[in-house]
């Protein structure tokens, strides 16, 4: 099968949706002539024009608010927030408007909108451009949260996100944009709430998201040589969260380690291990482990950044600590 990048996979879906659905439009900062800070919308402004690919002022509040209002009257906006670090400039819109509008008004409207944004460190972009904040809004009922780790998943999940009639937060990891992988030419959707087993194994379950999936895969190869067989599960969506797949794996391995780039404390991993403790306690033979970024802002200097962000060594140690 052909190989394309994570960026190209996302681009294909946006291009396709703009082509087939007149209600779909894009809005965001510098998504026009430039094609977005990470190039995902390259060429779309040239192809579809100002009306469909809306280059906005520097106004996160207005971007999220306008997307929400437009969705409430029948459009299907796909907004881009350049970095997830800027999401909370629009905190009220997200938390008090978008997330609440349908429920609070007694189900009177649908909000088919997607907010694409960028997470992740690895580029020495420092504290305000490197965060993985996917857990924050997963705490707010009213959003679906998607966090793809491969080009294949990115394409199928973005398709589903745009087809969904609810607010969807779509987190793209900046280190993955250039990653290539097999992606079919045709369109396909990957349902939300269905985890993917990225590697089959029988000794320990690793639940990982975004770039941590790839780090965990490399660690698994290393551990294989030591005779430890790691199963790696990527939930792909945090809301809804596919606990069935995770629990089925734990029934087999009896051990679980959650790995994410978000900060450790109160991160998505806390939710996953809490649910495992609650729903799979009887199958567990070892303490539940979490690996996440150290609880400090992401520093700039490359050696400090990589110290703070989970590395293969951290994942390796966490897994070893439960299997030994």
């Amino acid at each position: 099968m052909r190989q394309i990048s994570y960026r190209e996979a996302l681009h294909e879906v946006l291009d396709y949706e703009l082509q087939i659905n007149p209600d779909v439009f894009l809005l965001g900062e510098d998504i026009g002539p430039l094609g977005g800070a990470f190039g995902v919308t390259t060429g779309l402004w040239q192809k579809y024009g100002n009306e469909r690919v809306r280059n906005t002022p520097l106004s996160e509040i207005a971007i999220v608010g306008a997307a929400t209002g437009a969705a409430s009257v029948g459009m299907r906006p796909v907004a881009e927030i350049m970095f997830c670090d800027f999401l909370f400039v629009a905190g009220d819109q997200l938390i008090n408007q978008t997330a609440k509008m349908r429920y609070m008004f007694g189900d009177q409207c649908q909000l088919p909108l997607v907010i694409r944004t960028v997470i992740g460190a690895g580029q020495s972009a420092a504290a305000q451009h490197s965060q993985s904040l996917e857990g924050l809004l997963a705490h707010i009922p009213g959003f679906k949260s998607v966090i793809p780790s491969t080009p294949y998943d990115a394409k199928g999940l973005l398709k589903t996100a745009i087809e969904d009639n609810n607010p969807v937060l779509f987190y793209e990891h900046k280190s993955l944009y250039n990653m290539k992988g097999e992606v079919p030419e045709e369109m396909y959707s990957i349902p939300f709430g269905v985890a993917d087993v990225k590697r089959k194994g029988k000794d320990v379950t690793v639940i990982a998201t975004a770039e941590m999936v790839h780090k965990s895969l490399r660690v698994a190869d290393r551990l294989q040589k030591e005779g430890i067989d790691v199963e790696i599960i990527d939930p792909r969506t945090l809301v809804p969260l596919d606990m069935d797949t995770i629990i089925n794996s734990v029934k087999k391995t009896h051990k679980a380690v959650v790995v994410h780039e978000a900060h450790l404390s109160y991160g998505p991993g806390a939710e996953i291990v809490a649910r495992l403790a609650d729903e799979a306690f009887d199958y567990l033979d070892a303490p539940l482990k979490r690996v996440g970024a150290k609880d400090v802002p992401i520093p700039m200097a490359p050696h400090l950044e990589s110290f703070v962000i989970p590395q293969e060594e951290d994942i390796y140690k966490a897994i070893k600590s439960v299997v030994d």
């Binding site: 409430s72 459009m75 609810n166």
Partner: protein, 318 residues
């Protein structure tokens, strides 16, 4: 433009808002209504003048002080009252209450508990209308206090630069909760801020329904004709506290009494009688009918069932 029917609609809309609010205040004081209450009494001419200048399908969005806007847009008093009671038959099945009434079927896309929070959303409705070529105008009501929020700035700038069919109606009642306008912004006329966005700014006498109507009509027409958004400031005054229970240390009784002399309902009543548009007995009859409708809404609210608790956890997503 001013014929008997239209004058009657203007007057009865204002009276309906006043009487509904008086009833709500009474029920709230009697502890029949849960939650909070922000009365619109005194400001009736603004909601009425603006909404009557709109087409039925046009959008409005509102604030914590939103009952007047809803009524002027023609929502059901029964479903509204039931929502104040927190009942299943209310607009939001009891999930919203006084601060969050919406009736999408009437273009009323929601009141808001966050000061300024509705302005970007209303702007989005204008964007949707423009992109879908619906020909609808989106009107956003908010207060003088809200005009200091960042959301106001971002939304108006966006609306201007995208030439959206929006009308931003600032109800300047001279106070943001307990803070007088002179202490929260260094201008008297909020409409001046329109200049900064390159949009049209206008001022209406918010105690005069005809003044509001005239200015709102111009703004709505401009929006509909593709001439862009307007910031329309309506100078008005609320007679009651910011919320029911507000001790109001920030103003004098005398000030309130002075404003009551300009009461928008009394003034317009005088106007329609002097101009022989309506007679006193017609007004009396209409008032009586409105009171009956409100009383019926109260009975409906009281008697309606509560939503099942399971409904509170079943419909987060479509």
């Amino acid at each position: 433009m001013m014929n008997k029917d239209f004058a009657g609609e203007m007057l009865t809309t204002m009276i309906k808002i006043r009487l509904f609010e008086e009833k709500a205040v009474e029920l709230f004081a009697a502890k029949e209504l849960p939650g909070w209450l922000h009365s619109y009494i005194g400001e009736e001419a603004v909601a009425t003048g603006v909404c009557l200048a709109l087409n039925p399908g046009d959008y409005i969005s509102s604030t914590h002080r939103g009952h007047g806007h809803c009524i002027a847009k023609g929502v059901s008093l029964k479903a509204m009252m039931a929502e104040l009671y927190g009942k299943k038959t209310g607009y939001c099945h009891g999930r919203g209450g006084s601060m969050h009434i919406a009736d999408f079927s009437k273009g009323m896309i929601g009141a808001n508990g966050i000061v300024g929070g509705g302005i970007p959303v209303a702007t989005g409705a204008a964007l949707g209308s423009k992109m879908k070529k619906m020909g609808k105008v989106s009107v956003c009501f908010f207060g003088d206090g809200a005009s200091n929020q960042g959301a106001f700035h971002e939304a108006l700038n966006l609306a201007a630069v995208w030439n959206l069919p929006a009308v931003y109606v600032c109800e300047n009642n001279l106070f943001a909760e307990t803070t007088p306008q002179s202490e929260h912004q260094h201008i008297n006329d909020i409409a001046q801020r329109a200049v900064a966005y390159g949009m049209f700014g206008d001022i209406a006498d918010g105690m005069n329904v005809l003044s509001v109507y005239e200015k709102a009509k111009l703004a709505a027409d401009r929006a509909r004709n593709g001439e862009g958004p307007t910031l329309l400031e309506c100078k008005t005054y609320r007679y009651r506290g910011h919320w029911e229970g507000d001790p109001q240390p920030y103003r004098t009784k005398k000030e309130i009494e002075e404003w009551k002399k300009k009461d928008p309902i009394r003034a317009f009543q005088q106007y329609v009688i002097e101009n022989r548009l309506l007679t006193e007995s017609e007004i009396e009859k209409a008032t009586h009918d409105i009171q009956a409708e409100i009383d019926e809404a109260v009975v409906y609210g009281r008697k309606s069932p509560l939503a099942d608790v399971q409904e509170a956890v079943c419909s987060l997503f479509v």
